[in-house]
Symmetry: C2
Subunit: 348 residues, 2 copies
């Protein structure tokens, strides 16, 4: 189930067979998914459910304590969608790991429409004044216990708005980024190389553009430093066509396990000191700062009426620390990390 | 130094004598303070420095481990002001205690002016287009170690804008609020009673109005619960005259020690379980959420160019915790607290 050959095979299976491997049934009714199996929305929902399941199983396989993911299937009021939230907490290898899928139907508010128009989208509201949309995505943050094991975050999302004449405006967004507490250049190179491979199959411009976008996005402005060593970040992917865009996002999703698992396998048994654990906790504090102050997805969630707050904030670490004026010594390993967070490097 | 009789005596002393008891020299030059000793801005700067010193000494007296406050005097670039930040960290009784004074001079941006006009202020920019202001305040958060000891926060601030013809628009703001992890009704009553006494001397309407304002302000909307059991919160105090307003704010500042010290003395040796400590850590997480997502002062600080970020974020706890779907049992002490955070009560 871990390599893409198997995945290719699986994606050709009928929907009813594929769902057997999921953490829970998809958000949309199986009958509806079967009926619309050629639609991009259906394929995307299957892809994000599949990604959730693959990542959860890979994490469980790394977790020596035997801890398993807790699976919460939830729905929003008035059949406006729902999600599947999987969380593994207080493990031996992982302090907290969350993988969340959500599929939400609604009508775009004027405010959201305005913001999207500012980004160049064009919509025509229906005669009744509404503008229906579907938003779906998989989102995950994995916080390991060992300070030599970096945190990973990824998110892949799809947005579809239906206008007056049934015309659909759609776009994909997403990304994957790494937050180490200690810099292991080989690990960072490996991570970026795998992402570049996934991008290059689709467009040679993607990796360099999305790498820069990622460095810009994960900026903690108040600190003058990035959250981590980046990866890729993209939004408003509207071409070349929906099927190709979906394939690109699927390649990125398939890259997560080869990006991350070898880094954890390599580092999970490394010994560490109490000071190194405290440094990890301080970096966790910065993670909280980024997510609560800057992250667009988190802020969007806070403003969405009826949003499931526990699924949004599952991204926060189990524990974090804030120490007044903590300044690593010049030349220390902690300071080496800060240098890279202040001036991002090219890794491939 | 702890009772208000002594304080009254002290406030009548010459400035040069009063500063001897401060944690550091005031931000404004002594010569300037002496020259303008009758101005409200001078009196306020002396009051906030005095409050800082009194609170730091009271906290040090409660701290059995002998830890002392670290005192950082800092200045902003281009003589635009500065501050004194005092932090006690990793104590026996206090996990982290910060008391910060800042005095900042600048020119109001169009955005800030617009926001203030929306609150009813009227200004006339100088002929050169500038609108000079002074902002000063003392701000503090004290996080004790024992989960039976509540966190206290207070802030007193003064804002003065000088218009075209030298006319001054000024206002005071501030407040004091308590964040217990476990509800001790007597402690909360004591806290609110002391605040009410301080308010009632000046205006019988103050306490009920500012108590409600406090309950409204410290709302963590995403959680549907307040940060703590409130206290008082006020802004835009513009009357009856500057001297009386300063006296009101001074009464509130003088109430902090009688509000808080008896609660810590009573609870600091209480035994607690590992579960109670974890509950405290979860509540600390909510504290972080309020401060980073909602607190106006913190957000204002983030947007101020050249702001000293370590002085702003000294309000965050040393450690915090986020646990997926933590739900206290019905009838538990943890749940009793949540009830009050969801539906604030009258305490006096």
């Amino acid at each position: 189930f871990k390599d893409s050959t198997v995945l290719c095979f699986v994606t050709k299976c009928p929907i009813n067979t594929r769902v057997n491997k999921f953490m829970a049934l998809p958000v949309t009714d199986l009958a509806v998914l079967n009926q619309n199996q050629d639609e991009v929305a259906t394929q995307m929902e299957m892809m994000i459910m599949e990604t959730q399941s693959k990542v959860c199983k890979a994490i469980e396989a790394l977790e020596d304590g035997g801890q398993k993911f807790l699976v919460d299937k939830w729905s929003k009021d008035n059949s406006t969608g729902g999600g599947v939230t999987c969380v593994l907490q207080d493990g031996t290898v992982f302090e907290k790991a969350g993988v969340n899928v959500s599929v939400v139907h609604g009508n775009l508010t004027k405010g959201a429409e305005k913001q999207m128009r500012a980004r160049g989208k064009q919509f025509q509201r229906l005669k009744d004044g509404t503008l229906p949309f579907i938003a779906m995505g998989v989102s995950s943050v994995i916080h390991p216990t060992n300070p030599h094991c970096p945190t990973i975050h990824f998110n892949f999302r799809y947005f579809e708005v239906t206008g007056r004449n049934g015309e659909k405006t759609w776009w994909f967004g997403g990304g994957t980024d790494l937050t180490p507490m200690y810099l292991d250049e080989n690990d960072v190179k490996h991570f970026h190389t795998e992402l570049k491979k996934a991008c290059d199959v689709h467009d040679k411009e993607y990796y360099p553009n999305f790498k820069t976008w990622c460095d810009d996005y994960f900026m903690i402005t108040i600190r003058g430093e990035r959250r981590g060593v980046g990866g890729i970040f993209f939004d408003d992917i509207e071409g070349p066509d929906a099927q190709s865009a979906l394939e690109f996002v699927t390649s990125c999703a398939n890259a997560i396990i080869p990006c991350y698992v070898p880094i954890i396998t390599k580092n999970k048994y490394k010994s560490f000191t109490e000071e190194q654990k405290q440094w990890q906790q301080l970096r966790r504090g910065r993670y909280v700062e980024f997510n609560l102050i800057y992250d667009r997805g988190t802020k969007f969630g806070f403003q969405t009426p009826g949003a499931r707050i526990e699924s949004i904030l599952m991204s926060l670490p189990l524990t974090a620390r804030w120490q007044y004026m903590h300044t690593p010594k010049l030349g220390s390993m902690e300071n080496q990390l800060l240098d890279v967070l202040k001036s991002p490097r090219d890794w491939v």
